[in-house]
């Protein structure tokens, strides 16, 4: 038997508007009728007998069930014209046909092809609303869209502003960091110099040194080994120490880590003269002539005193600018000591060491020839070194001119970079730290990436929040809509259906409770109405009936008819018997009443 529901249920009989499902059901019924119809499509020859037999066969079975899926597919031309143009109704009709015939996947696909319902779906899930009519979208969808707009857009805005701010912040931070490194380098170099100052003071105040300085030249050899040993030890323990020697009050060297210097007269030297005047001395950066390779050095001198009497001068020279580890920095950073005239006294980058930084203004060669440094002495002849010129972009002019600490971006040798500098007042120079802009950009991009990641997370959170918030509203709305539809079709609305809604404390909760109440009252009214209708009594007015019957029964016509009735029936009975094969006497017709009055 066909187990499908009746076309329209009893509950639906009195209902006004037909739902899409019911309209589809009506159309499916029409389709089934067309399939059962003997009328072939125009022009198609069909044997009448075969058609009749097919009809008998169909009616022998329960209506509708004799039609097979193959009939449905092969007889499509009979019913295709019935398909509605409204897409959702059309889909519902096809879905009902699929269910009714329990179509296999292949047949279902064939049906979809025939009806043009399978190819239109360009999204993987089935939308229950028309995408091309925004006005008909469910409130939940609209709300979700608006919430997404109002949460995602600010999130993206904040993210972008944040990225921009982070970039600016990172640039500032990196510059400050670079400045800090420059200050650190300068501090280390100052510390080195202070260390040598202390050593010189120590040497000048050493009792053996004082005794030896205060002794006449003839007696000095007695003290020589002790003092020379002290000098050698100092020299050995300080790898960047250039030389250590002691001068007596006549200006002659009486002890030195370099024995060749002993006996030489250095009274012409400024530091000797200054020392003998009881003044401490520190040279600027210079390049000792006695060495064969140009290395920046600094000399420090202290008077050797006994009480208030100056006995001589202790002198120490250091290559700490060139050889200390103060300029050893992490990879990617270049450190240099820049003299005030632009000469690079030392650098951890060999390409820059003993070069000149100067403006890129066409005067480079002239400046290069004017600013030169001692290139050592060979076979008693001094050489001057012409230094490599490194042009500096205009934006880095403060690097040369400023006496304050600073930072700036620009280019050296055309390479974009950021430079930070710190004055080395004791040396008359600056400590400079350079980082390429590419490295800085990479560092900034790393920060930006972090910010974008954060923004994406924020966006995801915003989206999630929008979806959740819209579901919080759309779900109850869906329940309410469904309940309202049930109410419309007089179906009972259960409390469980609306349990999530009626617990809410907002206006949706109020709506849900009111709808539930309305549904209950409607149900009561229906029950009451049903009871009233069901209680309809068949009341017969017996007296009236008897009067009406009497009027008819008492008529002549009725009397005659009643008299003839028995005979009429007997005649019919005999005819039946005749028809069944039993002979019977010929009857005379029963006398019938005549001429009815209109």
């Amino acid at each position: 038997m066909d187990s499908s529901p009746p076309l329209i249920s009893r509950d639906e009989i009195s209902s006004g508007a037909l739902s899409r499902q019911r309209r589809a059901r009506l159309l499916v019924q029409r389709i089934l009728e067309r399939l059962q119809s003997p009328q072939a499509p125009a022009g198609a020859p069909e044997d009448a007998l075969a058609r009749q037999l097919a009809g008998v066969r169909r009616r022998a079975a329960a209506p509708g069930t004799a039609i097979q899926a193959s009939d449905l597919l092969q007889g499509a031309e009979r019913w295709q014209g019935l398909l509605p143009s409204e897409p959702l109704l059309r889909e519902e009709v096809v879905a009902q046909l699929q269910r009714r015939f329990s179509l296999a996947a292949e047949d279902a696909r064939a049906l979809a092809r025939l009806t043009g319902t399978g190819t239109r779906r360009w999204i993987p899930w089935r939308l229950s609303f028309p995408l091309h009519t925004p006005a008909a979208w469910p409130v939940g969808v609209k709300l979700g869209g608006v919430m997404l707009l109002f949460s995602l857009v600010p999130a993206l805005l904040v993210g972008n502003v944040g990225a921009w701010l982070a970039q600016a912040q990172a640039e500032q931070s990196l510059k400050k960091q670079l400045q800090g490194i420059a200050a650190t380098v300068a501090g280390r170099l100052d510390e080195n110099l202070r260390e040598y100052g202390k050593l010189t003071r120590y040497l000048a105040s050493n009792p053996a040194v004082i005794r030896m300085a205060g002794t006449s030249p003839g007696e000095r050899p007695l003290l020589g080994p002790e003092v020379l040993g002290l000098l050698d030890r100092l020299q050995a323990s300080h790898s960047d120490a250039a030389y250590i020697y002691l001068i007596d009050r006549t200006g002659r060297c009486f002890a030195s880590s370099d024995r060749k210097l002993i006996g030489h007269d250095y009274s012409f030297r400024t530091y000797v003269q200054q020392g003998l005047r009881q003044e401490a001395y520190m040279s600027g950066i210079y390049y000792p002539v006695s060495t064969t390779s140009p290395r920046a050095a600094v000399s420090i001198a202290r008077p050797i005193r006994e009480g208030r009497t100056v006995l001589g001068v202790a002198v120490m020279g250091t290559y700490s600018l060139a050889e200390s580890r103060a300029l050893d920095l992490k990879t990617g950073l270049t450190a240099l000591v820049l003299e005030n005239d632009g000469v690079i006294a030392s650098s951890n980058d060999p390409r820059l060491a003993m070069g000149i930084l100067g403006p890129d203004d066409g005067q480079a060669e002239a400046r290069r020839r004017r600013i030169s440094r001692n290139d050592g002495i060979d076979q008693g002849q001094r050489f001057r070194r012409l230094l490599t010129y490194h042009p500096l972009s205009a934006s880095l002019k403060p690097l040369l001119a400023s006496k304050q600490a600073g930072v700036g971006a620009g280019a050296i040798d055309g390479q974009e970079l950021v430079a930070a500098w710190q004055p080395l007042e004791a040396y008359g120079a600056k400590a400079v730290v350079i980082e390429s802009q590419q490295a800085q950009r990479q560092a900034i991009q790393a920060v930006q990436r972090k910010v974008m990641l954060l923004t994406s997370l924020l966006g995801l959170l915003a989206t999630g929040w929008a979806v959740l918030a819209s579901r919080r509203i759309s779900r109850p709305l869906r329940s309410l809509t469904q309940a309202a539809a049930q109410l419309e079709t007089d179906q009972p609305v259960e409390e469980e259906q609306l349990s999530a809604v009626i617990r809410r404390k907002d206006d949706l909760g109020v709506l849900g409770r009111q709808l539930l109440q309305a549904a209950r009252e409607s149900l009561k009214r229906q029950a009451s109405l049903r009871a009233q209708v069901a209680a309809l009594h068949i009341k017969i007015d017996q007296k009236q009936r008897d009067r009406d019957v009497a009027v008819i029964v008492d008529s002549d016509f009725f009397g005659e008819l009643k008299a003839a009735a028995a005979q009429l029936r007997a005649q019919r009975q005999r005819r039946r018997l005749d028809a069944a094969g039993s002979p019977s006497p010929i009857d005379s017709p029963a006398p019938m009443p005549q001429s009815p009055r209109p």
Binding site: P6, G64, V533, I538, F557, P596
Partner: protein, 254 residues
């Protein structure tokens, strides 16, 4: 064995003609040779569900009643209008004229009721009918009383309406006096809110006549507007199912 079935109602508008047409279709679909006679000469309507208009009917029962033709000549085979029928199945229609002149002639001149009885018998014999269904004029006039008298089965159509209840009570009593052998009530246009079983019990206990069918009220039937027998328009409708059950009870009478 041939059967004469009268379909009658005390008042008009009960859905008698629609019920008659559908019942006839169901019986024909069961392989019976069926004829339906429209004896509602004053307000004929049985031709409508089969798609006949005023110009389509060459002859009518009116001409037979005026002695102008045999009744068998009036019968129109409408089998091809109701789809393929099983072997032996046929449906013939004996319409009443819908021409105003012929209706007024009958009203003016009257006719010999005895002719009707002869006509019914001729139809049974000449057309070799299994079932003759008479669609009567509402109320209790003389030709109706004759139809009742001749019936093997009387189907009384009524609505859940006080006037119908009262009129049906009169008709049932008259039918009893005429000793109609089989009577079935058809309760039509039953509101969906009514409990069908309770109504059945009440009707059967009130009239002491079996309820042959309980037909629901439906806007689909109204929309069909008698354009075709409803059992053909919507064979799966509960209404149609009830008519099929009624047909089974009709042919099963002793």
């Amino acid at each position: 064995m041939s059967l004469i079935v009268s379909v009658h109602s005390f008042r008009g508008g009960t859905g008698k003609s629609n019920t008659t047409a559908s019942l006839a279709v169901v019986l024909a679909q069961q392989g019976k040779r069926v004829a339906i006679v429209d004896t509602d000469i004053q307000s004929p309507g049985l031709h409508v569900p089969f798609g006949f208009g005023a110009e389509d009917l060459q002859r009518s029962i009116n001409q037979f009643l005026h002695g102008e033709c045999d009744i068998a000549e009036v019968a129109v085979d409408v089998s091809d209008r109701i789809g393929p029928l099983p072997e032996g199945g046929a449906l013939l229609l004996v319409p009443a004229s819908i021409k105003a002149s012929e209706i007024t002639r009958v009203l003016r001149e009257g006719y010999d009721v005895g002719l009707l009885q002869e006509g019914f018998q001729s139809l049974l014999d000449d057309l070799e009918l299994d079932v003759l269904i008479i669609d009567t004029h509402p109320g209790l006039n003389e030709e109706t009383l004759l139809s009742l008298t001749l019936s093997d089965v009387l189907l009384l159509v009524l609505r859940p309406d006080q006037q119908d209840f009262q009129g049906t009570a009169v008709t049932v009593e008259i039918a009893r006096r005429l000793e109609v052998p089989n009577m079935l009530l058809i309760l039509n246009k039953l509101p969906s809110q009514m409990d069908g079983e309770a109504v059945r019990q009440q009707v059967e206990s009130t009239y002491r006549v079996p309820l042959g069918a309980c037909l629901p009220m439906d806007e689909g039937i109204a929309m069909n507007a008698s354009s075709r027998p409803f059992v053909l328009a919507q064979p799966e409708h509960p209404w149609s199912e009830q008519v099929r059950q009624l047909a089974q009870r009709v042919v099963a009478v002793p």
